[in-house]
């Protein structure tokens, strides 16, 4: 939630250090980013969609499904190639990003729960 809030808060409050931090993980091209208050988000549309999808997946409590996750990864890869070769659509980036974030969230939640429960310490 803090992560998503920082992405949206950066343009509103002109938080330069947030842009600096996110520059490590995103190209931050203004032409490929959503805008608010005249400034672009701290990350591009694809990244924003993945993070918002991840947050939505956590809130919705989606069940972990490896098939959905594989399909989401394949969709993102296909969309990336499609954008390079045929058509670069923001709508496709949003949909594929949301799907990837939402399907990843339950697995990450389980992984974190297992770490916190000490499962890893017992089995290693």
């Amino acid at each position: 939630m803090v992560w998503c809030a920082a992405i949206v808060a950066a343009p509103i409050f002109r938080l330069t250090f947030v842009y600096e931090s996110f520059s490590m993980i995103c190209h931050q091209d203004p032409a490929r980013s959503w805008r608010v208050a005249g400034e672009s988000f701290a990350v591009c549309i694809r990244c924003s969609s993945i993070y918002f999808g991840f947050f939505a997946g956590l809130i919705a409590g989606l069940p972990p499904n490896a098939r959905w996750l594989k399909m989401a990864i394949a969709t993102n890869a296909a969309e990336f190639l499609l954008a390079l070769i045929v058509v670069d659509s923001a709508g496709l980036r949003i949909l594929s990003g949301l799907a990837l974030g939402a399907t990843t969230a339950p697995f990450v939640l389980i992984g974190l729960e297992q770490i916190l429960a000490g499962a890893t310490r017992d089995s290693m």
Binding site: I25, Q114, T120, M124
Partner: protein, 149 residues
Amino acid sequence: MALGLLSSIPIISLGNCLCCMWVLGGGGLASYLLMQQRPGGITYGDGAFGGVLSGLFGSVIATIMSIPVRFLAARTLLSQKEVLEQALRDAPGLEGPMRDFLLQLASPEISAVALVATFISNVVIFSLFAMIGGIVMVAIMEKQKKQQL
């Protein structure tokens, strides 16, 4: 090791702009190697733990690699610093120590502050994304050990 090297070499490190590709891949690789060691499968927690460890190790490598890279890219960093100075002049409420801190980070000079800040940001980003990479790899390979929570 691969995670740290790929994330610190200029141009190649741009791969991280694609959803932190090298870091996710590094975490996934750590998780994959762990699966090879344990034919019985691993838990998502194991994948996450392996990913975090690879992220920590990678952040050390990336920070060490950032020293020669700063030397080699001094001219580019200097121009970046000028752009940042201009941006900070336009941004209200960013005066004083915070402004000096940000300018020091963008400076081509090697300082303890810049190295510590680079290391901390690397640790946070790399550990987080490598952990996700590790978990996703376990999910994709479907080799997780059944575990009761």
